[in-house]
Every structure is written in structure tokens, then in C-alpha cells.
């Protein structure tokens, strides 16, 4: 299970745990601007019962091409309609393809065909690699790529339990599962103390979700 330390992956982890699964959590230190999320990923994995938490270092700044992995400004206070209608500069080239590829390799070593990712195609930033058609194509490819699938030991399934939920629905599900969202982190551009900026797309979508859910957001925003 991919765990970033944000709202979606926390709910995804708690959901899997509530179904009696034994989730292995995978997090990437991809030289992201908001590397403070690694601490959140550790807290989430511990608090919500991952049986193992693996953090892998990936040199994505050598590739760059995103405000999260290169010296580009993170857009602030973008109107909601615009967030949902274009692919922004915080898009990281091939990120979910890269992340799922490592998950696929690890799954094969664990002899487990079930990969979970908390992507969400409603209240999201328009990233192409969060959409159902991408996930389906990845799953199809994975079943041709691996010894496990080709030899028939296990079919690979990419589970996306949140993909058709709004952020508010995801938050309400998390509350029902007993998650303290104070341990999660969403901001792309936190200040030196780790406080959320409140104005990047990720903060805006998080704030909107908590507002719509009628749940107080425990995040400390810098403004």
C-alpha cells in the first residue's frame, strides 16, 4: 500500500486494516519539496497499524519537471474551478507509474497480488495518473510484467477504494474509522517549521473537504 501521509492514504490504510488485511506500507523520499510528509507517513503507518513500513529514496530531482522536484514556484490561491480543470505544475512526471512499479516489485517479493493506492479522481488536481483509466491500464500491464502473474501464482489487482469519493466523503469515512487527521500532512509548500501554507492546491482541496464534511480540520496553517 502506497502511503504518503496525507488524508487519502491514511483512510485507505485504515480501511484495509478494518477489513482484516495486513498492510505493508510503502513511502517514497523522492526529494519532494514537502519532505515533511515523510514524518506524517511514519505516524500514519504506526498509528493505523501497517505491519511494515518501507521508505525508499528516489532521485527524482535528477529528472525534475515539477514544482515539487525542481526550483519552480508552487501556485497559490488558484480558484477551485481552475484546480480541477488543468494539469498544474505540481504534477510530477510519471510519479504514480514509478511509485506503483516499486509497489509491484515489493508485492511480488511478498507474494501478494493486492496493491492499494489512495488515488481519488473527484476532488483532485487533475493529475492523469490518478484516473481510473490509468489504474486499469497499469493493472493490465502488471499482469504481463511479473513472474508472479505470468506463472499464475497470483493475479495482480490495483485497489483504489477512494477513487470515486469526494474529499468530504473520504474524511467522513476516516472519522468513522477513528482516524485523528492531526497526524496527516497535505501541504505542498510548508514553511520551515512544517506548517501548512493554506494556499496551495493540496491545502485548498483539504480545507474544502473538511468544510464540506463539517469536521474541524486539525491542521496548523501558517495563515
Amino acid at each position: 500500500m502506497l502511503v504518503s501521509g496525507g488524508v487519502d492514504s491514511a483512510v485507505c490504510l485504515a480501511l484495509a486494516k478494518s477489513q482484516g488485511l495486513e498492510p505493508h506500507a510503502l513511502t517514497f523520499n523522492y526529494q519532494q519539496r514537502h519532505h515533511v510528509e515523510l514524518e506524517a507517513a511514519r505516524r500514519v503507518s504506526d498509528a493505523l497499524g501497517a505491519v511494515h513500513h518501507l521508505i525508499l529514496d528516489l532521485p527524482l530531482r535528477k529528472i525534475g519537471g515539477s514544482a515539487l522536484t525542481a526550483d519552480l514556484d508552487v501556485p497559490k490561491n488558484v480558484p477551485l474551478g481552475e484546480i480541477e480543470s488543468r494539469i498544474p505544475v505540481t504534477y510530477v512526471p510519471a510519479r504514480n507509474t514509478i511509485f506503483l512499479s516499486f509497489a509491484l516489485g515489493w508485492a511480488e517479493v511478498l507474494e501478494c497480488g493486492d496493491i492499494f493506492i489512495g488515488v481519488n479522481a473527484l476532488d483532485y488536481s487533475g493529475y492523469p495518473d490518478c484516473r481510473p483509466q490509468f489504474i486499469e491500464a497499469f493493472e493490465r500491464m502488471a499482469n504481463l510484467a511479473t513472474k508472479m502473474a505470468v506463472e499464475g501464482a497470483a493475479r495482480i489487482e490495483i485497489h483504489t477504494p477512494l477513487i470515486r469519493l469526494t474529499k468530504a466523503q473520504i474524511i467522513l469515512k476516516g472519522v468513522a474509522l477513528g482516524i485523528d487527521f492531526g497526524i496527516t500532512h497535505s501541504c505542498y509548500d510548508p514553511d520551515a517549521r512544517g506548517a501548512a501554507c493554506g494556499a496551495c492546491d493540496s491545502c485548498i482541496l483539504r480545507r474544502k473537504g473538511f468544510l464540506e464534511a463539517g469536521i474541524p480540520d486539525p491542521t496548523v496553517y501558517a495563515r
Copy 2:
């Protein structure tokens, strides 16, 4: 273009160069047992005219599951019929999926839709991620995964010019292109001085290819 420093990627690079392309070479230090191949990848990229050579560090020993990335013995002197009929312990879980994912991200930053990989589905080790059906599924997925493809800037194409050639045909093509194969490296289990073992599957397939081509193999074998 993925460049490992072996025969196939050298020919693939020379072929692209001969067609007037400007190849960007991508190599992975994935903590492979035969990391000596990184030197070969540098020599190949330099000698055959890559316009840029990027080496990325990947922590694949944290995942393991292969004789190339974990403490498992590399099989020696396996009969040819057997090499071609089963997936061996040198298979690295999801390796080509991981490698192509990084190539996809880099291609997007370079604003280039053409990715080359020197896979070969005839004289090979039975790895599932070298087969045409895997490559086609990856290409389809890539065109749903990326901003470049979704916004219509470029269609992504995974080029595999060697996929239906025998190792002997690949070597003859390389000779015609003027490649000195002395700069390449194939062995999975070289000795401390970097000399090829002569007995792993990769050495056996290389030796067979040179024999069938009627070309002297410049490799120094330990035995």
C-alpha cells in the same frame, strides 16, 4: 534510451544514432551484483554518441527477491533449453517496469515521446518484462499516465528494434554499425577484477550469439 552496457543496448544506441536521432542514455545503479556494468554503460554511451548520460541510484536491495539484488547464488552452466523455458532466479521483480517508468518521466521532461529499450524475446532468459505483450501494455498505460500524452503534446512510443532478433543477428547488426563489443559487459557474476564468469545465463547467451554469428567474442572470461 535505456542503456545497461550490454550487447543489446549498445546495438540499440548505435542503431538510433545511425538514424539521425539524438539519444539520451539512462542507466540505473540498482545495487546490482554486476555493478561493473555501470562502467560499460559509460563507455557505451560515450563511444556510441549519446548526447547525455544519466545514471540514477535505485534502492532495489531493499526489495530484493533476485540473485542480482539479494544474497542468492547466480545459477551456473544451466543447459540452454532450460534457460529459455523458465523464469530464473536472476529475474528482478518489476525491473523493466521500474526502468521504463523513470524513462517515461525523463522523456516527459525532455518533451520527447520516443523511448528505446533493447529487449529481445528470442535469445533471452524468459523474463516476462522483455516480451512484446508487456511492452505494448506499458505503452498503452504510458499514454494514459502522463500530461504530455493526455494533453496531446506527444504520443509515447516504446521502441524495441531488437525484440524479434536472435542474439547472433543483433551482434551482426552491431558489427555492421562498427561497434567494438570489447566495451560491453554481459556477465551477472563477474569476479573481483570484473572478468566475466563464462557460465551464468547471460554469459551463455552472449557466447552462443558470438558463436552463431561467427564473430570472435572480445570478452575476457575467467574460465
